[in-house]
């Protein structure tokens, strides 16, 4: 991992047209500004990780498909 120190108003350039700037630091909170090409998606990591967890939970199995068919049949009765 690359470790760098930055002050307020200083930034990092990541190749590919991405700039991350420290806008403000106060009370243990760092406010960052991210400029990136439109095709680059930026996510908060904790949300990104949760989505991966949720996608993994969504991986189906055949008993699941059997159950939803049974449930839908019950509802249609």
């Amino acid at each position: 991992m690359l470790i760098l120190s930055r002050k307020k108003e200083e930034s990092l350039i990541i190749e590919g047209g991405i700039e991350i700037k420290v806008l403000d630091i106060s009370n243990g909170l760092v406010k960052l500004g991210v400029s990136a090409p439109k095709s680059v998606n930026v996510y908060r990591k904790e949300i990104y990780d949760k989505i991966i967890e949720e996608n993994t939970a969504a991986k189906a199995d055949s008993s699941m498909v059997f159950n939803i068919k049974a449930e839908s049949a019950k509802k249609n009765d």
Partner: protein, 141 residues
């Protein structure tokens, strides 16, 4: 082409039926090609990987279950998916089944957007504050 599936056995499909996720799905980045099949007599669909037999998801259109499910699709995404008319855009939500089934959830935070003409698709994380675990079967009652 023919793939073997756990749910339907051998399934034949055409190249133009293949839904292409350029970046895969979150957590499944190597899975870029899927086919979509109706689960008979239900409103659910099965999103089956063409590469991995045991990888499939249950998905469905979310709009019937959540009255205020509106979100902004960024222009860059519309461009990436080549969507030129709104009726070319399909939205699907991944479903997680629970026991009891009434506690099953649908992911409204990270829907799949698909161009139903070109079959280009992408899973998006919305900025809007929608739940990742929306208990869609409870609302119906």
């Amino acid at each position: 082409m023919i793939i073997n599936t756990e749910v339907y056995g051998e399934v034949s499909y055409k190249d133009e039926d293949v839904i292409r996720f350029e970046e895969g799905l979150f957590g499944f980045e190597d899975e870029k090609a899927f086919i979509l099949m109706d689960i008979e007599e239900t409103t659910y669909k099965l999103l089956q990987s063409t590469k991995t037999e045991e990888l499939y998801f249950v998905v469905m259109t979310p709009f019937a279950f959540h009255e205020s499910y509106d979100f902004e699709v960024p222009d860059a995404i519309m461009e990436q998916l080549d969507i030129k008319a709104l009726d070319h855009l399909d939205v699907l939500s991944l479903v997680v089944f629970k026991d009891p089934i009434q506690e099953s959830t649908m992911n409204l935070k990270a829907p799949i957007l698909m161009n139903n003409k070109t079959k280009k698709a992408k899973q998006l994380i919305l900025n809007e504050d929608f739940p990742m675990r929306f208990e869609f079967l409870k609302v119906e009652e």
